[in-house]
């Protein structure tokens, strides 16, 4: 994998920030977009755009094809059995809420339980709290070990009483970088009669996801982290579940026929896609998926593993830096704290040098409490990240530490 060449695909990377070359280490929040994505969206708007699905004219038909090609691409990317198992939403938060409504309120029964883990993003906590509070579902939290891994024994214990209807767990923590053993989680969940969903927002950026191999019932992710546009999220769900679930939002596109008395739903996946879809975003995401697949997950994973190792080594040598998470299996995200300075001050000082990291609770307040901190700084890597950028981070951190000493 030729990172220099890849960097040329991302126009934004040549920007300067406060007079310094941009060092973008905030890809886990949202990734930058390659030229193919930018061009795909622009070309659509310049040469081939109309509303989709119901149009009988040329522009509409061509736009429908271009947009629906994203469904095929997403299905292939995840190795879904069929394109009908792919539902588009607005972001992964939308995907998780869809399942919390349509499966949680629509299929689960009061008295059942949902299991999440202690390292979830708010998007995989709050929908279940709302389900708990409105639908009488118990919310159980599987603990993590001090290394930041899912405690599999405690996890299994939570399933033991057979009340768990759904397990919803991150496939990769956006704070600790921990990758969770999806196939084992799924097998255990199924053994105790629970369905299983993975929050793949981070995981799908770093490794090949095979929903059939891991036997996921639901798998959700978000376009903007996979080098695609904002405004589009993806939900994979086994067809039988989609068939079983009532719709979430009502409106155009998701109906088969409407009378005031009775409305019948469109076939899956359209039953879950109300209103004009994110057409341009689907076209952009298709280009992003193609781009990622052309590079290949093997190369990406290898690159990011090397970067992560380098970052852990370099940051680990700086006195006063604490690194969070020592999972065996981890992706390209490193959270850290400096003893003498608040994470916000760290982020600002780095920003002043053109280095973009995130600082705060990373939408994971309960995990922050588990780690005993209010906030951390986080550097996260993409396909365009270089070893030199990590060196710049580490060198600057040394000076930040001196500055606040």
């Amino acid at each position: 994998m030729n990172v220099d060449k890849i960097r040329q695909d991302f126009p934004i990377l040549s920007q300067t920030i406060r007079g310094k070359p941009l060092v973008f280490l905030d890809s886990a929040a949202s990734a930058q977009k390659p030229r193919v994505v930018i061009d795909a969206m622009r070309d659509a708007m310049e040469t081939q755009y109309a509303n989709v699905h119901r149009g009988l004219h040329w522009m509409s038909e061509r736009t429908t094809e271009a947009y629906e090609a994203c469904r095929d691409a997403a299905a292939a990317l995840m190795n879904a059995e069929s394109r009908e198992e792919i539902v588009f939403t607005g972001n992964i938060t939308g995907s998780l809420n869809l399942v919390a409504h349509s499966y949680g309120r629509g299929v689960m029964k009061p008295g059942q339980a949902v299991v999440i883990s202690a390292m979830e993003h708010h998007s995989n906590i709050v929908p279940w709290q709302m389900l708990r509070d409105s639908h009488g579902i118990e919310l159980r939290v599987a603990p993590i070990t001090d290394a930041g891994e899912l405690d599999m024994i405690a996890f299994e214990a939570l399933l033991a009483d057979g009340k768990v209807g759904l397990v919803s767990i991150t496939h990769m923590s956006n704070v600790l970088g921990t990758c969770t053993p999806a196939a084992r989680i799924a097998a255990l969940s199924h053994a105790y009669g629970a369905k299983v969903m993975f929050d793949g927002a981070q995981a799908i950026v770093h490794r090949a996801v095979d929903v059939r191999a891991m036997d996921a019932d639901f798998y959700a992710w978000t376009g903007h982290k996979l080098y695609g546009p904002t405004g589009i999220g993806v939900l994979y769900a086994k067809r039988e579940l989609l068939e079983q679930m009532p719709p979430f939002m009502g409106g155009g596109e998701m109906i088969s026929s409407v009378t005031y008395e009775k409305t019948t739903w469109a076939r899956v996946p359209h039953k879950f896609e109300a209103g004009t879809p994110a057409i341009l975003e689907g076209i952009g995401l298709k280009a992003a998926i193609d781009y990622v697949r052309a590079i290949g997950y093997d190369a990406m994973a290898e690159h990011e593993a090397a970067l992560t190792e380098h970052a852990l080594a370099r940051l680990g040598r700086i006195e006063g830096i604490r690194i969070f998470g020592q999972a065996q299996d981890r992706g390209g995200v490193v959270s850290f704290a400096l003893d003498k300075a608040h994470a916000h001050d760290v982020a600002t000082l780095l920003d002043r040098q053109g280095i973009a990291v995130r600082a705060g609770h990373h939408c994971a307040e309960p995990l922050m409490r588990r780690l005993g901190v209010d906030s951390t700084a986080r550097a996260s890597f993409g396909i365009y990240t270089t070893h030199a950028e990590i060196d710049a981070l580490a060198d600057t951190m040394t000076r930040v530490r001196e500055f606040f000493a």
Binding site: H53, R54, L56, S60, T64, S256, S257, A266, R267
Partner: protein, 156 residues
């Protein structure tokens, strides 16, 4: 090109003719199987009735359609071409027709299908109008459902 020339690629005379005056556009008084087809995306609806001969071949097909010229013409041409065919034969013809409607080219097929496919060929122009392909295949979906013993089909 004149207006008429332009549109002849899809609306050939035979389609207009069958669309306007379908020969088989009626409910059969006596039938063995029936099914409905529905295209919720555009509201086309068709109902077919089939009577079998003693050898199991299709003796007669009738239909009622609510929809565009393409779907009516396609239903009528279907009724015409399946007459005298067995179930397997009819299914093979459906498959071949479907490919033709989607791609504009006639797929490899059994020599036995030469003649009916030629009769259906005027409909192959729909492949240029992807949203209309379903209009052409809807009656076939309904027929297939009837032969299969399911009562409803959708070409969505």
């Amino acid at each position: 090109m004149s207006f008429a020339d332009d549109v002849r690629d899809l609306y050939q005379e035979v389609i207009l003719d069958h669309g306007r005056r379908p020969r088989h556009g009626k409910r059969l008084a006596a039938y063995d199987v029936t099914a409905k087809g529905d295209n919720p995306m555009c509201g086309d609806r068709v109902e077919v009735w089939v009577r079998f001969a003693s050898d199991g071949a299709i003796a007669e097909t009738g239909f009622e359609a609510r929809g565009c010229a393409i779907s009516v013409a396609s239903a009528d041409l279907m009724a015409e071409t399946v007459q005298g065919r067995g179930k397997a034969d009819t299914k093979a013809l459906f498959e071949a027709f479907r490919t033709m409607a989607r791609t504009g080219v006639c797929p490899d097929h059994d020599a036995g299908l030469d003649e009916p496919l030629e009769r259906l060929a005027p409909l192959s122009g729909v492949h240029e109008y992807p949203s209309r392909v379903k209009c052409a295949t809807l009656p076939w979906h309904a027929l297939d459902a009837a032969l299969e013993g399911t009562r409803e089909a959708s070409s969505e």
